[in-house]
């Protein structure tokens, strides 16, 4: 589905992404983790076309994404902090997104319904709480039934009920053979939904394994502890 080959990105002298090559397949939920400033956000942004890599290629369905934007019809993106024009109403935001996206027929309004957003369609964005804006972002990401979902800290700021709804939704979409990339700091959450964990440290992939494999390697029941152990091994090594 997505193939990244020897990708590099520097900001001034800071080499943020160091020659990363990786492959994501459909039907996977991949959790991208790593400390702050490790380069995981930059990698995601490269994938979304928000950051333009210095060199290396990203293939989406075997097509190079450089200077292309049509492939983004197949990506749903949920940003970590959703900020929208102050005076735009929720309803207008959805209308606008529908205007932008090409697949208008096959809409997935499950999250919209679950979060009861329709009842707030007339509210301007500036009056919304951070949690409600996250719900809006999430609903938008899933709305167009994209093949790939990129979710940046999806549950941060959501109440427990909404978090649960979102997790359920992620698992449901996985069954539809979709590729879901999640960055998250909450290990229990990763443990619940992720198939694979990609750990990035100082611009390199330290490991990229299935969750079960990681637990086996570290000989731990809980993913959090397993990863902590692996991390200490890698830093010691």
């Amino acid at each position: 589905m997505i193939q990244i080959e020897s990708l590099n990105k520097s900001f001034n002298k800071l080499h943020v992404v160091k020659n990363i090559s990786v492959c994501f397949n459909k039907g996977e939920v991949v959790s991208v983790i790593g400390p702050n400033g490790s380069g995981k956000t930059t990698l995601m942004k490269c994938l979304l076309g928000m950051v333009i890599p210095d060199n290396g290629t990203i293939l989406f369905d075997n097509k190079n994404i450089l200077h292309d934007w049509n492939y983004r019809n197949d990506i749903g993106y949920m940003p970590q902090i959703g900020r929208y024009p102050d005076n735009m109403k929720i309803g207008q935001l959805f209308e606008m997104m529908k205007d932008i996206r090409s697949n208008k027929d096959d809409l997935d309004e499950e999250l919209m319904d679950a979060f009861k957003l329709q009842s707030m369609f007339d509210k301007p964005m500036r009056t919304l709480s951070g949690g409600t804006r996250q719900k809006v972002s999430a609903a938008l990401a899933f709305l167009f039934n994209p093949k790939v979902l990129v979710l940046d800290e999806p549950t941060a700021g959501l109440d427990p009920i909404a978090s649960e709804i979102l997790k359920e939704k992620i698992l449901k979409e996985k069954k539809k053979e979709k590729l879901i990339l999640i960055t998250s700091h909450i290990m229990s959450e990763v443990d619940d939904i992720a198939d694979k964990v990609m750990y990035i440290f100082e611009g390199n992939i330290k490991f990229f394994n299935a969750v079960s494999e990681i637990k086996k390697l570290a000989n731990e029941e809980k993913l959090g502890k397993a990863i902590a152990q692996l991390m200490s091994q890698t830093t010691h090594a």
Binding site: M50, R72, P79, I100
Partner: protein
């Protein structure tokens, strides 16, 4: 792109600052026209306002709008959209909104009280200056990542064109007083859109006789129909060039 522009305009037109700006312009122009018996004199006072306030508000408002929309622009970039489309839709959205404010605040009063050729040139200059400083604001916003730096840069640019540039011209005139300066000054005027706007308006007024007193070539040039078209073309270049640069930079920008 038209649909995107529609949403941006819809958002900005509900902005309180823009509303305040419109009311400020409207209050000032109406009170000038009502206090002053002579519409031409009111127009002259309005010229000063236009040459200072319009560029300042245009550049600062556009810059702040750009940074406030930064996350939204990020989200749009992650959508199946061309980056140029995204930037231009923001650009035209801001321009249309500022145009509306200008038209309501200055345009309608001028058309009601002094719809002379001077009044029309005043409106034309005001609109061109609005557009020019929106373009420059977008360029400034795109080259800096930090909001504070961006606004600082915009303020500097405004300060440069409104105040420093003419000081430099004066310095230049003092230094090269012994040389024939008419043509260099003509060129220097073109390098500052605010000066161009000012000259365009002044030459339509009685007061231009003062200018004819010492700068016949200058007056003849800008006072002619050719000069008018030339000035409009130069000001249009001032609109296009910064925006072209802004698009180029934005296309490669890491958000």
């Amino acid at each position: 792109m038209l649909k995107l522009i529609k949403y941006v305009v819809y958002d900005i037109l509900r902005n309180r600052i823009l509303l305040g700006y419109t009311l400020l312009l409207l209050t000032v122009s109406l009170s000038l026209f009502n206090l002053e018996d002579d519409a031409a004199k009111a127009t002259l006072s309005l010229t000063n306002l236009i040459l200072i306030i319009i560029p300042l508000v245009s550049i600062i408002f556009s810059t702040i709008h750009f940074y406030n929309s930064y996350e939204f622009i990020e989200l749009l970039v992650a959508q199946p959209l061309n980056r140029r489309t995204i930037l231009l839709s923001q650009y035209f959205g801001v321009s249309i909104s500022l145009f509306t404010a200008f038209f309501v605040g200055i345009g309608i009063p001028v058309l009601l009280y002094n719809a002379s050729s001077t009044g029309l040139i005043l409106l034309l200059s005001g609109m061109l200056l609005t557009q020019i400083f929106v373009s420059i604001a977008f360029w400034a916003s795109v080259v800096t990542r930090d909001k504070a730096k961006g606004i600082g840069l915009s303020l500097m640019i405004w300060f440069y064109f409104s105040l420093i540039y003419d000081g430099l011209i004066l310095f230049f005139l003092f230094s090269f007083n012994d040389f024939p300066l008419e043509k260099p000054i003509l060129a220097l005027t073109c390098l500052n859109p605010v000066d161009l706007g000012r000259i365009l308006i002044l030459l339509k007024m009685d007061i231009s006789a003062l200018m004819g007193f010492t700068g016949a070539l200058y007056k003849d040039f800008f006072g002619s129909a050719f000069g008018l078209i030339f000035s409009i073309v130069v000001m249009s270049i001032w609109i296009i060039i910064p925006m072209l640069f802004a698009i180029r930079i934005f296309n490669r920008k890491n958000l």
